[in-house]
Amino acid sequence: MLAYIVRRLGGAIVVLIGISMVTFLITFAVPGDPARMIVGPHASMQVVEQVRHNLGLDKPLYIQYLNYMGRLLHGNLGYSYNDNLPVWTLIRQRMGNTAQLAFGGWIVELAIGIPFGLISALRHQKLSDYVVSFLATFGFSLPAFWLGMELIYNVAYKLHWFPIGGTGGIRHLVLPAVTLGIVGAAFYQRLIKASMLEVFDQDYIRTARANGVPPFRVTFHHAFRNGIIPAVTYAGMDISLLLGGVVLIEQVFNYPGVGELAYMSINNLDVPVIMATVLLAAVFVVVANFVVDILYAFIDPRITLS
């Protein structure tokens, strides 16, 4: 177990270094001059050069990268070019919000996807299967942006059921999480349907029925945990999709999260913030996948963590 954790940690570090390099390269490959962005279009060339020098942006790229990583190792994420606040302060305020939103979206995905998938499998090729499959696919094909706007207009603005945007508690979370979840639920619906259909065909299900077990118990005690295994695996990948969705949803709902911060930092070429948000997302994905693997071993006794 310890060896397993050490190996996973090693892998995670390699992944994070790789991601940091690629992100660093990309921020410099895009057209635009961070120094010029900081001082504004009317500052003189001299001022721009001064800022460039102060920030170390005149050094070769690999030196800049090594400097950045050196500071990172000391827990220093640097200062935002944009508002001169420590990056960590910016992120810390928003991290919890985003984690809540991503988690909420995931819960909604499961809350729709799992029952829908079960219905589809249990009523395979019957009307309810077609209805539920259609709904899931329909939800998937809605643009998240548009769906979010619709919900804001109808449910928040007109009906006043939920706040229009911002944060402040579970009520603020509902609409953005539902938007995220509706769009992602179709994957789980299909996955659960396919895997449950496969499980229902297995010999051990026939054994359960041969023991006189009624259908409800066959489905939930004997089949469900086997059928859910692929969904757990998928959840690991889904985290990154969710984070992608979060960037957009936070814009739509004016939700102060890391996604919104990332979006603004890209617009402003605020390199330290870009780096920090991307690395944070990567850490999140790595940790989530680790949790998923542990969960996987927990559900399936054939899997051992080694």
């Binding site: 297995q202 010999d203 051990y204 026939r206 054994t207 359960a208 029925r209 041969a210 023991n211 006189g212 077990v213 009624p214 005690h221 004997h222 945990r225 086997n226 559900i299 399936d300 006794p301 054939r302």
Partner: protein
């Protein structure tokens, strides 16, 4: 000596089973009759695809919904084919249980052995959880599993094929069934393990007095275990007799072929195929289904089906060689 109705545990009469296909109903089993007395071991033999498993699944009510069952299957005078799902569930795993050919896949990979063996008890017996776990331990010991307390906590992948089949047997015995159906219980196992499992089945049967319907390819197993045997070919019964008759006076050319292809009964070899192939379900010959492969086929064999008739008390054969209309050559 024919079986009296009161002596009959299981009475299958005129059982036909069809499956729905794109071209309509395809009949896999036709007019099968089979009786079993309490405590009796009956063998059901025949080549692959002749309908042995389908027949046993029909007894359990476990055929897929695409199957149609006609005829009657009664257990102690109660017709199982007309029971509701709920009534049938009370029979399964309780009065009748079944073990399958594939011990590797017949157990649930994510449930503990003890939990799985307890399942029929949970369904049919009213026990406290302490009593249940005692009973599970007892069952595991009864089927010869060393260290039951530990094995209860294990998962199927931690056990060998032979051990898993023992677990399946323990599960099937949990509610002391009146009838155990064993569908090729040893086919997937090593030869030495096969013998152990058969010994175990025989021991359990003697102890409990249950009836055993043993489905097998293996005539050596039949000789050792069974008192009577039913031979099926292409979905129909072709011969039915006491096991001694089968070896000393087989009457049906198919049965003779099966035996002829078995060099030494004690060596327990698998059936070596008779030349030719079983006709597919959708293209059954109009006469005797064995006619295309039968070296003794006559004209009438190709046009008219023979009936299953007594040639001696307790010995029935379906062959024109043994009934009026055929000419014995």
């Amino acid at each position: 000596m024919t079986l009296q109705a009161t002596d009959t545990l299981l009475n299958i009469s005129n059982l036909s089973i069809s499956f729905k296909s794109d071209d309509g109903w395809i009949r896999a089993v036709q007019d099968v009759n089979l009786q079993m007395a309490p405590g009796e071991t009956v063998g059901l033999v025949g080549e692959s695809g002749c309908g042995k498993s389908v027949t046993s699944l029909a007894i359990m009510g476990l055929l897929p919904r695409t199957a149609r069952v006609e005829g009657e299957i009664s257990l102690q005078g109660r017709n199982l084919t007309t029971l509701t799902d709920k009534e049938l569930r009370r029979v399964r795993g309780n009065d009748v249980s079944m073990i399958f050919q594939e011990p590797m896949t017949s157990l649930n990979p994510i449930l503990r052995i003890g939990d799985q063996i307890a399942e029929p008890l949970r369904m049919h017996a009213h026990l406290t959880s302490r009593q249940m776990s005692e009973r599970v331990k007892e069952l595991l010991a009864q089927v010869g599993i060393p260290n039951p307390a530990r094995v209860m906590q294990e998962y199927p992948h931690q056990l060998s094929g032979g051990m898993r089949q023992r677990v399946m047997i323990a599960m099937a015995m949990a509610c002391k069934p009146k009838l155990l159906i064993a569908d090729e219980p040893t086919t997937a196992l090593d030869v030495t393990v096969q013998a152990q499992i058969l010994d175990l089945l025989r021991k359990l049967q003697e102890e409990s007095g249950m009836s055993l319907l043993l489905i097998t390819h293996d005539l050596g197993v039949v000789a050792e275990m069974c008192s009577r045997v039913t031979v099926m070919y292409a979905g129909k019964v072709v011969e039915e007799c006491p096991v001694d008759d089968l070896y000393y006076e087989p009457e049906h050319p198919y049965t003779q072929g099966l035996l002829g292809s078995l060099p030494d009964l004690d060596k327990r070899e698998r059936l070596r195929p008779i030349p030719g192939q079983v006709p597919p379900l959708w293209a059954m010959p109009p006469g005797c289904r064995f006619a295309p492969r039968c070296s003794r086929a006559m004209d009438i064999c190709h046009s008219t089906e023979p009936q299953l008739l007594d040639v001696e008390p307790n010995h029935r054969v379906s062959c024109w060689l043994h009934q009026k209309g055929g000419t014995v050559s």
